[in-house]
Amino acid sequence: MSTARGISLWGLLRHVLLLIAAAIVLLPFVWMIVTSLKPQSEIFLSEIRWWPERLHAVENYTKAFDRAPLMRFLLNGAIVTVTIFMLQVLIALPAAYALAKLRFWGREAVFALVLFCILIPPQATAIPVFLLFHHLGILDTYAALIVPFTISAFGIFLMRQFFMTVPDDLVDAARMDGISEIGIVWRVMLPTALPALTAFGIFSIVAHWNDYFWPLIAVNSKELFTPPVGVATFRNEEAGTDYGPLMAAATIIIAPLIIAFLLAQRRFIEGITFTGMK
């Protein structure tokens, strides 16, 4: 019946429920964008106004760019997240390959340690790492923002799980063909693992783009601020209660992620279903 009439009653109800849930999640986000378009006088009205009477977008967005080096923050964000991800891949793939495909003494113990490391929250190690970096003298540099995240236990775990599904015969065929072990990681495992790697890439980049806690601790110079830290200080120092430009700045720093996600959406979903992480 449902196919004949298009939607059944249950189907309709399901969609209504999903729409309500989506609305709850999206509402603050929509409110941020709407606020970024309003003049100051319309922001604090007692009524809910979904669209400003007087569009103040140009003013708010130029003010946001004027008052804080937003482009610099965005650039910092890009440098930090992309470098972190590349280093994570550089370390996680060989490690995952060894854990999945090589037989060596203590392999299970090492894998158990990797799982254990996933459980450690980054906040727990923040102070020791801070002190370590202080002694090394690399606080307040890009290195301080990047180095703590270069070894991703989660990345090793995720890629190891994926590599377990790659047939052993493929690895053996590569060995017969004369590809070295490290060559197998990059020439055979990496291309077959692209969906999983994309999924990991998105998790990693989103997490570090939005990270507020560590950059706040690790750097002091404004030139090194990542977008969330930059916008937060922007609120404290510059904007006061000027919420229009603040919301405009927030919108700007989120935009790259949204755009990237929309572009990679299909691969992302492929990757997640592929790795069984749904």
Binding site: P167, D169, L170, D172, A173, A174, R175, M176, D177, G178, I179, V188, P191, T192, L194
Partner: protein, 385 residues
């Protein structure tokens, strides 16, 4: 001199011993099959020859050189896997080109983009191109070269795997159940193709299979493996006609050889089988039980006077060219299978009594431990079995 010489090869995984001292000599250009039930250690032995697995003990020589500890790629062997193991992200062309690129190009010449700046890359790539085309021609898959493995059928993938193996002209080919993922019809066709390929390349083939028919149809010699040992090795005819072990007799041949329970009696150690005294003298003490093997095609219909075995016809399988009769014989656990030519036993119906006979020289006798036992005719000095 043998191309491959295996001496006392043992392999244990943790505590279980998978290979228990395998000795095997393989001549240059020979097609040899390792056949046996699954789990008997065939793949492990092949992987040890390939260098993908280290033996626990014993040594492997290839072309006279001990290769223990030498990397798989440096042994100059090619392997075809049951799952084909094609690189899923590469086209057929590139799949076949990989072993050539790994041999003929330096590490720098294999880097993306940078490679074209290194002198010699272009001419080496030209040579690779020509060789891949030649192999594609040989295997009749020129129009598949630009497809990815996911776009190929099972038979085509199998062909690509063979192409990747032959392209670099290795010293020997190792094939691990290359046909078992194909459907029955294609499997029979590919048997012929692989046998022809062997003749054309005149290279050594070591072929692992659990399918005795594949081994029988393609090989110069068959090595039958059971429980980590090679228990018999010989030409297909040898292994079929003259099995030295009950397990070999039962494994080789389809339908399976009939095994009847018999015993030796009396001073002349005659054989008693299903209540009949068979006039042969067994070289085994009297009073011992004997397993008597008779191939289905050695069984013949008899008149009731000449019957050596009789039973009730339980089932008839008409295969067109031949008919298989399943006969329940009193005192025997499994039905006796009789193979007759087309049109045989047409008048006999299910449930009727049927009388069977066989020639004495078609008997294969085994003792309790499954070892072959000799026998000779009671009067004449003719030895057989």
């Amino acid at each position: 001199m043998a191309m491959f010489e295996l001496t006392g090869v043992r392999k244990s995984f943790e505590r279980t011993e998978v290979l228990k001292g395998v000795d095997l000599d393989i001549a240059d250009g020979e097609f040899i099959s390792l056949v046996g039930p699954s789990g008997c250690g065939k793949s492990t032995l092949l992987r040890i020859i390939a260098g993908l697995e280290d033996q626990t003990d014993g040594s492997v020589r290839i072309g006279g050189d001990v290769v223990d500890g030498i990397r798989p790629a440096d042994r100059n062997l090619a392997m075809v896997f049951q799952s084909y193991a094609l690189y899923p992200h590469l086209t057929v062309f590139n799949n076949i080109a990989v072993p050539l690129r790994m041999r003929r190009l330096s590490a720098l010449q294999r880097l993306p983009l940078v490679r074209w700046l290194v002198p010699g890359t272009r001419s080496a790539e030209c040579g690779i191109h020509a060789d891949v085309e030649k192999v594609a021609e040989l295997l009749g898959m020129r129009d598949l070269l630009h497809r990815k493995p996911a776009q190929l059928s099972g038979g085509q993938r199998q062909r690509v795997a063979v192409g990747r193996a032959i392209v670099r002209e290795p010293r020997g080919f190792l094939l691990d159940e290359p046909l078992s993922n194909l459907d029955a019809k294609l499997r029979v066709h590919m048997r012929t193709e692989i046998a022809q390929l062997h003749r054309r390349l005149a290279a050594t083939f070591i072929y692992v299979t659990h399918d005795q028919a594949e081994a029988m149809t393609m090989s110069d010699r068959i090595a039958v493996m059971m429980d980590g040992n090679i228990i018999q090795i010989g030409s297909p005819d040898d292994v079929y006609d003259d099995p030295q072990d009950l397990r070999v007799a039962e494994f080789i041949g389809s339908p399976k050889i009939n095994i009847l329970e018999g015993a030796t009696v009396g001073e002349d150690r005659a054989l008693v089988l299903a209540g009949h005294r068979i006039p042969i003298s067994v070289s085994e003490q009297a009073g011992r039980s004997i397993s008597v093997g008779i191939r289905p095609e050695a069984m013949r219909l008899a008149s009731s006077e000449g019957a050596l075995v009789s039973g009730r016809l339980a089932h008839k399988e008409n295969l067109g060219a031949e008919v298989l009769l399943h006969v329940d014989v009193d005192g025997q656990s499994a039905p006796v299978i009789v193979r007759l030519d087309h049109g045989g036993a047409r008048s006999i119906r299910i449930g009727e009594m049927i009388d069977l006979t066989f020639a004495m020289e078609d008997l294969r006798l085994f003792d309790k431990a499954g070892r072959r036992v000799g026998a000779k005719a009671a009067q004449k000095e003719l030895a057989y079995g």
